[in-house]
């Protein structure tokens, strides 16, 4: 057997083996891909519009978008004052209160808070405690958030995230987009 022949033979075996690897990898993809959210789930993730006219200062509703709950809370003047009074060294993830409080564009007074209702620690829904700056307390592992959703203490590492949202009118809130009229 010449060495040329040996080389040719080895080439065939190696190439065949490589093709086998490519084939298995290609075949594996549909099996992995099917785990991702399907087209219907993705399409259902579009913005939801909610009538919030019934929400009074000091109360909140829970709204579902993409299968997850969101707090839509209207703050009282006392709560706004308490939130504004939180100092940087009290916060783990410092953020000014006015960035987290919003409202309809044509309203001068901003007193709305729209944040995720799942604790940023491991996903439980915090309960209202309302004592001083403390707003929400997570029953699972004890994280405490103020009423703008900023983490004050406990195991949660960051503030409750704000979903994209916009007030289409004074009474209608859209969660899932930050551009009105979409």
């Amino acid at each position: 057997m010449t060495s040329d022949e040996t080389t040719r033979r080895d080439f065939i075996y190696v190439a065949t083996g490589m093709l086998g690897v490519v084939g298995v990898a290609g075949l594996a993809w549909p099996f992995i891909d099917q785990m991702r959210p399907d087209a219907a789930v993705r399409a259902a993730g579009q913005p939801v519009e909610i009538d919030v006219s019934s929400v009074e200062p000091g109360s909140a509703i829970i709204v579902t978008w993409r299968g997850k709950p969101y707090f839509v809370r209207r703050l009282t003047d006392a709560e706004i004052t308490a939130a504004s009074g939180v100092t940087v060294d009290q916060m783990k993830d410092p953020q000014p209160a006015d960035q987290r409080i919003g409202g309809p564009a044509d309203e001068a007074k901003k007193d709305w808070v729209v944040v995720a209702a799942n604790c940023t620690h491991l996903g439980c829904i915090p309960k209202v405690v309302d004592s001083g700056a403390d707003g929400w307390h997570c029953p699972c592992h004890g994280s405490v958030f103020d009423f703008t959703g900023r983490i004050l203490h406990g195991p949660a590492p960051i503030n409750l995230p704000q979903p994209p949202h916009v007030f289409a009118s004074d009474t209608n809130l859209i969660i899932g987009t930050d551009t009105a009229g979409a």
């Binding site: 086998g20 993809w29 549909p30 099996f31 891909d33 099917q34 785990m35 991702r36 399907d38 087209a39 219907a40 789930v41």
Partner: protein
Amino acid sequence: MSSLEHHGTYTPTSGIGKWIDARMPLPRLMYDSFVAYPVPRNLNYAYTFGGILSLMLVAQILTGVVLAMHYTSDTGLAFTSVENIMRDVNHGWLLRYMHANGASFFFFAVYLHIFRGMYYGSYKAPRELLWILGCIIYLLMMATGFMGYVLPWGQMSFWGATVITGFFTAFPVIGDPIQQFLLGGYAVDNATLNRFFSLHYLLPFMIAGVVVLHVWALHVTGQTNPTGIEVKSKTDTVAFTPYATVKDSFAMMVFFAIFAYFIFYLPNYLGHPDNYTEANALVTPAHIVPEWYFLPFYAILRGITFNIGPIDSKLGGVLAMFGSIAVLFVLPWLDTSKVRSADYRPWYKLFFWIFVADAIFLGWLGSKPAEGVYTSLAQIATAYYFIFFLIILPVLGLIEKPRRLPNSITEAVLERNRASGAQQVTGSAAASPENRG
């Protein structure tokens, strides 16, 4: 492995290899079973279906598991969940078509595997248990295939389930209670769908278990081969790896190419349009037909249109159908010939090929409406089916004069190659692959 000689033995070289080998010699078992295991050197491509079937079983389980992630076994949602798979799940259409056509190709391969076993007398002593285990796998496959066909909850699913569970009502007294027990109600309904889903998920793993026994039994006796003569010396065999592995792999890829052709270009060719209509308990489709792989048995079932003594035609049809499968289990004792391979049995060879044609013919008849000349033809074909097993096989073994058998596999190979003048390998290497190193 008494009479079989191994090609090399397992000797772990690395430290980890030795450590594992002393504690749980799984690598040794794998090496002995799939590397050094000796296979007859004269196996042809008809012997590749065992490997193909193993792979098909794995493929069906894999696609089935991922489909079950999206399927809902509720009569109100089953059809919709399947359509969700087809339309919205990423690559869902591919996975479903793979699974649905995979069932057909699984049966296609198993039929070729069975016919190969019949042609080369693979069921004869000492391989009776191996054959019976195979028959059990086939039965489990039929149950799995039938229940899987019900899950999409189309019209054929529903009416197929109604008809097949109706078989049991043929038995007097106990028939109706058995049917209600199987259905979990008075008709095919939610309880039926749920238990069929559960069992359809379970049975493939039972099949896998019996496959392990099947392979175990095979590795005790060794494979048959086209001559039907047992392995006598090391020169009769080659090592499983690389010889059988590369040959099986090639056969698998050719098989998969045909399989892929159906998945991508003819995905609904083997299905029935009526199953794209959601199940409706008030409307029966014009022609109820089972999946193609059940058609021969369906033809036998419908062929019995007459009463046989105290047995009415309905029970007779059901008994004939069950009998046509049961007869496979006793095949090792029906064939009285001492010669295994049909290559050396001219008459058996002829009747075997008629049997194959008869089985295909029965399948075609099963797809036709049960009326007029089709029924008569089905009766003739059914008669031959049973005559083949119950009369021809026992009698032929006693009166047939077989051709001269070669002394060994090696002799048969060399004789044939000399005769055809093909592929001469020089020197002693021809006789013993081991000398080549």
